[in-house]
C-alpha cells in the first residue's frame, strides 16, 4: 500500500528566508507525487507534481520540489518565503497500480511565515 509522511506538523520561517516542507513516500511502483496548498476556509490548490524526468520540479507561486529516489523524499521548497505563503500544505502520492488514480494524502504541514 502507498503512503505519505509529513514529519512536521508545523514549520515556522521568517519572511525572506528559504523554506522547506518535508515529505517522504512509500509506493510499490513508480512514484507520482503532488503538492497542494490549502488556505484558510478554501479548497486545495494544486502547486506542482512529479511524474518523471528532472528531479527538480517548479510550480506555482515560486515553489519548487526536489524528488530524491534514494531517500524516497519529495520536499517542497521556496528560496524566499512570504507572509502570504502561510497555509496548510499537503503532499500526496498517486496509486498507479492496476490503472488506479487514487490520491493518498499526508497529514499536512502548517507553514507559518512571520515578519
Amino acid at each position: 500500500a502507498q503512503s505519505v509522511a509529513q514529519p512536521e506538523d508545523q514549520v515556522n520561517v521568517a519572511e525572506g528566508n528559504p523554506l522547506t516542507v518535508k515529505c517522504t513516500y512509500s509506493v510499490s511502483g513508480n512514484p507520482y507525487l503532488f503538492w497542494y496548498v490549502q488556505y484558510p476556509n478554501r479548497g486545495l490548490q494544486f502547486l506542482l507534481k512529479y511524474i518523471t524526468g528532472d528531479n527538480l520540479v517548479k510550480g506555482s507561486y515560486g515553489f519548487e520540489a526536489e524528488f530524491n529516489k534514494s531517500q524516497t523524499s519529495f520536499h517542497l521548497k521556496k528560496p524566499s518565503a512570504l507572509v502570504s505563503d502561510s497555509a496548510l500544505y499537503f503532499c500526496a502520492v498517486r496509486d498507479t497500480t492496476r490503472g488506479g488514480n487514487k490520491l493518498t494524502f499526508g497529514t499536512g504541514t502548517q507553514l507559518k511565515v512571520e515578519l
Binding site: 503532488f34 476556509n41 478554501r42 479548497g43 488514480n101 487514487k102 494524502f105 497529514t107
Partner: protein
Amino acid sequence: SAVISQKPSRDICQRGTSLTIQCQVDSQVTMMFWYRQQPGQSLTLIATANQGSEATYESGFVIDKFPISRPNLTFSTLTVSNMSPEDSSIYLCSVEVWGDGPLETQYFGPGTRLLVL
C-alpha cells in the same frame, strides 16, 4: 485546470437528517472524486464517480450512507445520510484534468463545511 464550484459552501444540520452537496465543473471530465476532511485531519477519499456507472467506494464508506449521483460529465452530488456529529467535516469534490505531461492532475473545489448538531 478546471473551475469547480460546490453548493452549499457551508451548512449546519440536525442529527438524523440528510444533506445533498452539489459539485459543478466548467468542463466535461471523466473522473470525479469526493473526499472528506475531518477537523484537523488530512483528506480521505470517499468514492470515485464516473459518469454512467455506479460510484466506487473506499473501505469504510458505504453507498447507503453516502449515495452519489453522476448524471453527466459536468455534475455530481454527494448525499450525507442520517447524519451524526461524527459527520461534521469538510467535503471536497475533485476532478481529473489532462494537461501537459502524461498524467492527469486532480483539481479541487472550495469544499462544503458541514456541522452536525
